[in-house]
Symmetry: C2
Subunit: 337 residues, 2 copies
């Protein structure tokens, strides 16, 4: 058991708030005793949910927030105007050290903007990347960056490679994680201008295990642990991943329901198929970390259920235990300028 | 029946050459009587394959080529040095008007380089995009550009939108095809510098049906018919598509073979599942066209079987019948400068 991690949790974010969010918080503190949760949201609604459970009351507190940032709101405006919202308050608490981490299933845009504007970057970090885990045939890889700031420079990608390596090694337990740079061919001479400039810089990095360029086709095979790319490309890969996966699974499910014969077959294969699809789901690792900030920010998807929220809280505990930010600080800005 | 289309077919390209290539040629001319095929490759080997079939001998000719461009060769060098290869000779014949189209399952790099260097672009076309069809829940969409020339300019993307629209309307029979620009959010203000510059240009285009930005997540749903993007991003989307699809299908097949119970289930669902997976396969439309050249160039995948080659030849027939290049010429360079 490490020292206590204090997590500010957005009780108003996502489709299942506050019910599943509160449930996830209770499950997390009941399962691990080094987690302290600050639930941010409408006090009455949160209290009503908490009343359904038994738990150690000394490890959950409620901080009332009046405003709610909606999914459709323009992020910059929302962050500026809704000071008394769960997102702004949770991030401010993280900035001020009143919380170690902030977790939200709410507006991605607001979380991304708030991360940089409210929590702030670690000194020396040029850009804070959003780094979701994506499922592979071998487990999971970190796709860094899928954030809102596009058109990165080579120096940004080098920092992403370093931060991603630290995360995969310390939080996911992968020794000497393999780092690859997304390109349109594995050969060193392939790539766009950004990739061609970045490749030699990564090659020279002494503190990462750079294995070269990777074609997007090989990402799902699990050929690399840290997949480095500029955010526009990362977004395209991530969203294609999600889109193809869900369309294909839907088509297969439809075909299973197409006749009496297939329905019987479906009953027989259901448990095995369910297991397979679960393997191809990375929610068990929590949400997507926004790295390089003064505190951890975790963005999980809008339809997150209690179990995902619980896993996000465990992720925050591992992040603190493993002193990720100290390690990032050391790699990015070793003399602490 | 339209006028005869003359297709130069690379008999040496791909994993199944020359057997499946020759078989596909025979099947095509036996099925449609407006196709004439010039088989390029080692004469003895091609003859030996042809001897297996009965067909109208007045519609297949062999042009002997001595050199073979291997998959691993550097494309520019290969094109320059191997003048007597099926790819160089087929493309030269297309350039000279001795063939209307060239089809190859060989080296993608050599075909892409050869298209621009040997066949040449239509006057006014700034860049020749590679535009594969990708499967969607609704059928198929054209992903334009997935070629080797990255870091496009806005004017390139506008031409891609026009050429892609013509192709989808005339070859695929989609009336007023919906054109969308790949971005990291559907909102107009989203995007990288290239997308932000291109969006207003597409909006102003009178001759395309521009429906706005598209997130990669929505591509597999079939939300748009022509998906416009710069080649590096197109490559990432295409390869992610292929990679996720094949890993997921492999995982599902493995789970079906995991126990006696699932094996029985698998037998029952097999026909329906096979149909579903076939629907999610666009080989029935032929290969990826390289648009905007003086003649059609079609690149199909390395493991293409006879049926795919046959479909590529039908695609060439439709391309000629529909006078695609005349239409491109008219839209891109209306005064014929």
């Amino acid at each position: 058991m490490g020292e206590m991690v204090k997590v500010a949790l957005d009780a108003m974010g996502g489709d299942n708030a506050p019910g599943e969010i509160v449930k996830g918080a209770v499950e997390a503190i009941n399962e691990k005793d080094n987690i302290y949760v600050i639930l941010l949201g409408k006090e009455d609604a949160v209290k009503a949910e908490l009343a359904k459970y038994t738990y150690d009351e000394s490890r959950i507190e409620i901080v009332h927030t009046e405003d709610v940032i909606e999914m459709a709101e323009a992020p910059v405006n929302a962050i500026r105007k809704k000071k008394d919202s769960s997102i702004v308050k949770g991030m401010t608490m993280t900035k001020e050290g009143k919380a170690d981490a902030f977790v939200s299933a709410g507006s991605t845009g607001a979380v991304l903007v708030g991360g940089t504007v409210l929590v702030g970057r670690i000194k020396g970090v040029e850009r804070a990347p959003l780094a979701p885990l994506i499922p592979t045939a071998a487990g999971a890889s970190l796709l860094i960056d899928c954030g809102a700031n596009v058109d990165a420079r080579p120096s940004h990608l080098v920092q992403f490679a370093k931060m991603g390596s630290i995360y995969m090694e310390s939080v996911m337990g992968i020794k000497n994680p393999r780092v690859a740079l997304v390109s349109n061919g594995a050969e060193e001479e392939k790539g766009n201008a950004l990739v061609k400039e970045t490749h030699p810089l990564l090659k020279e990095c002494p503190d990462i295990n750079f294995i070269g360029n990777i074609e997007a086709r090989d990402i799902p095979l699990g050929t690399a642990d840290v997949i480095v790319c500029e955010a526009f490309v990362g977004n395209a890969i991530l969203k294609t991943y999600e889109g193809v996966g869900s369309v294909l699974i839907k088509k297969i499910k439809d075909s299973l329901m197409s006749s009496f014969r297939t329905k019987i077959g479906a009953l027989l294969i259901k448990p095995a198929l369910k297991q397979t699809l679960q393997d191809f789901d990375v929610d068990r690792h929590g949400g997507a970390p926004l790295l390089g900030l003064n505190g951890l920010v975790v963005k999980t998807h809008g339809n997150a259920k209690a179990v995902v929220i619980k896993n996000c809280l465990f992720q925050c505990a591992a992040f603190k235990e493993q002193k990720i930010n100290e390690k990032i600080q050391e790699k990015i800005n070793p003399i602490g300028e």
